[in-house]
Symmetry: C2
Subunit: 359 residues, 2 copies
DNA sequence: CTGAAAGCGCTTACAG
DNA sequence: CTGAAAGCGCTTACAG
């Protein structure tokens, strides 16, 4: 098989044209006359030719590849339960690979365990010329990867906003994110429409719970509920919405405790919006043990939300992945574009509202 | 940065040696005198040189890369609950990438949705010279990927046995797998040691439940329990072990129903070994709703087993991943070895017993 | 629109 | 153990 593998030379010979006519057909089809193209394509077909991508990369100095980190979900030493923590991450990798295949680019994977130096790994990948760009997740202002890549003009995109950083910093690099507030707003509205009037919230601890400018995912998801609930309900008759929420850790145990507190403080609560599927599951378990019948909603639309049959918010990972590539590569084409710092991407386009899945 | 990137030429000049001395230092260090090596390494360090891997691949005709498929865990149209189905798969990808980094090889990812032709995708990857081999999961005898790769002498390894195929077929290609029977045996023994004497089993439906030659994962995990339990207990006084098990689907609902049936038939059951964490969770839920206190054990040691605090079996994915690479690449070195059909790998070495995690 | 030449950065023969 | 040459299979200038 190796001996008979077609090269661009054999294709050219077969088609009776020169090397670079074949190359043009592959890379700049518009430069070639239709009939010539036809002959070349026939030869390619006949010889079952596929370009040698190493040769292409070497010559063109483009790898047409990106790298993404894969993480372990092993349940060791995690702050959260980790029950579903890997779900979105893994789904993102899948959707990214899928979107990349459509764009004709390859996805390299690498790992980086806590304690390892990720910048070293990035350096190796860049220097070996294997990748043109990166897809990062959970970048923060102090993130050394950010500084490293920006300094070197290496294209990259982050899935996740730099929460709590200045607007200037946030607009200094490209990112896409999920609109958490929009999600919890939709869940709150759904419960309201269904006739629920006392809608509680279970979230994560936050440092500035009263702000209207969210500085974390926790703030963001809290805000969507609190604003919406305040708007919807009779504003005079009741206490502040803030009294109808409990904030804690991303664990079943914490969620159960929070739900118990919330329901003992407000026995009239008839629906609970939760910041995650883990919290929703914990709340559901507590509600069941109290022999109550109160619907909950989660976030992520993980398999768990389906199994335990509660409404949840689908992050549209597929859309986010193709948007990520659009930012990295432009609307079409198959090369990672060089960074053009003069051209800023309009921020609002990069925050994708999740889709409520009602169960 | 691009302009100043070091090449092998600049390193050679810096070190005052020829090109291929540098190349030798990198690829055949034993051919080079220590002091020459030292000079070259100093130059590499000084110029921060990393070989251009596309050039290396083109010339050496080795990609030093493998491909692995990444799948979606999205909870749509799956037979099983999918609650944890993706966990092992994703963990395997992570451990494979990690083990590959140690071996100096890269991992490409690709996707293949139901209805797509995976062989076409393999062909593209091979023809473009981007990969030397593949890591497949869940191969069966009729698997077209198997025939395709074997026919073309493309190195690959499967994570998972070809259940139910002939011994001849099973030994016609390399695979590694988990010893399911050993796992459920260990769980059964643990419960026995803790004083439990009536140990039930929850598994998946199987076509030949009475065979001692397992033909599926379902058989395998069932067998470990039934044999062990038969050995341990008083063989005369009681019914056949088979009466102490229930087989069903990989769903919470099915597990709850199975557990209910099992416990109503044998109220004296004081522990239940389960074929998966999903089944164990279902059993645990049913037991709780019956206000009983019966421990369960699962399989996979998924985050769920930790959260719901039941014992489970860790598949040692990390070990399996490095074993996979050992099969593909030999004990050491960093190239995927060509297939040598004359040399058969000793099968028993390829079945790894899982590790019981007691909770 | 098509063609002959150069060259991307390595490794692999082959000499010494 | 080290060196000068060839060449992997493409794409990219540059001519026509």
């Amino acid at each position: 098989m190796d001996k008979t593998r077609a090269s661009i030379v054999s294709v050219a010979r077969e088609a009776g044209v020169s090397l670079q006519t074949v190359s043009n057909v592959l890379n700049f089809p518009e430069r070639v006359k239709p009939e010539t193209t036809k002959k070349v394509l026939a030869a390619i077909e006949k010889l079952n030719y596929t370009p040698n991508l190493s040769a292409r990369r070497l010559r063109s100095k483009k790898s047409s590849s990106i790298a993404v980190r894969v993480d372990s979900n092993a349940p060791v030493g995690k702050g959260s339960d980790g029950l579903y923590s890997g779900y979105i991450q893994d789904e993102f990798v899948y959707e990214l690979v899928r979107a990349s295949e459509i764009r004709g680019i390859k996805v390299f994977t690498y790992t980086c365990d806590p304690g390892e130096n990720e910048v070293d790994k990035l350096t190796k990948l860049i220097n070996s010329r294997d990748v043109d760009g990166f897809l990062l997740t959970s970048t923060v202002e102090a993130d050394p990867r950010l500084k490293y890549l920006i300094d070197r003009n290496v294209p990259f995109l982050s899935f996740g906003r730099p929460w709590g950083s200045s607007a200037e910093f946030a607009s200094s690099y490209p990112w896409v994110d999920v609109d958490g507030a929009s999600g919890t707003r939709d869940a709150t509205k759904m419960f309201w429409k269904l006739g629920h009037r006392t809608i509680g919230f279970l979230g994560w601890r936050t440092t500035n719970p009263s702000s209207t400018k969210p500085k974390s995912v926790a703030d963001d998801r809290l805000l969507g509920w609190s604003q919406t609930y305040a708007e919807l309900r009779d504003s005079k008759a009741k206490k502040s919405p803030r009294d109808y929420c409990e904030l804690g850790d991303e664990t079943i145990a914490s969620a159960r405790a929070s739900a118990a507190r919330l329901l003992s403080r407000h026995p009239d609560i008839d629906a609970i919006v939760c910041a995650s599927d883990t919290l929703a599951l914990g709340a559901q378990m507590e509600i069941a043990s109290l022999k109550k019948n109160i619907p909950v909603s989660g976030f992520d639309n993980s398999p768990t939300s389906k199994v335990f049959n509660f409404s949840s918010l689908d992050q549209n990972i597929s859309e986010i992945a193709s948007l990520a590539l659009k930012v990295l590569m432009g609307d079409e084409g198959n090369s990672i574009r060089k960074i053009d710092s003069s051209k800023q991407i309009a921020e609002p386009n990069l925050i994708i509202p999740p889709r409520l899945v009602v169960r």
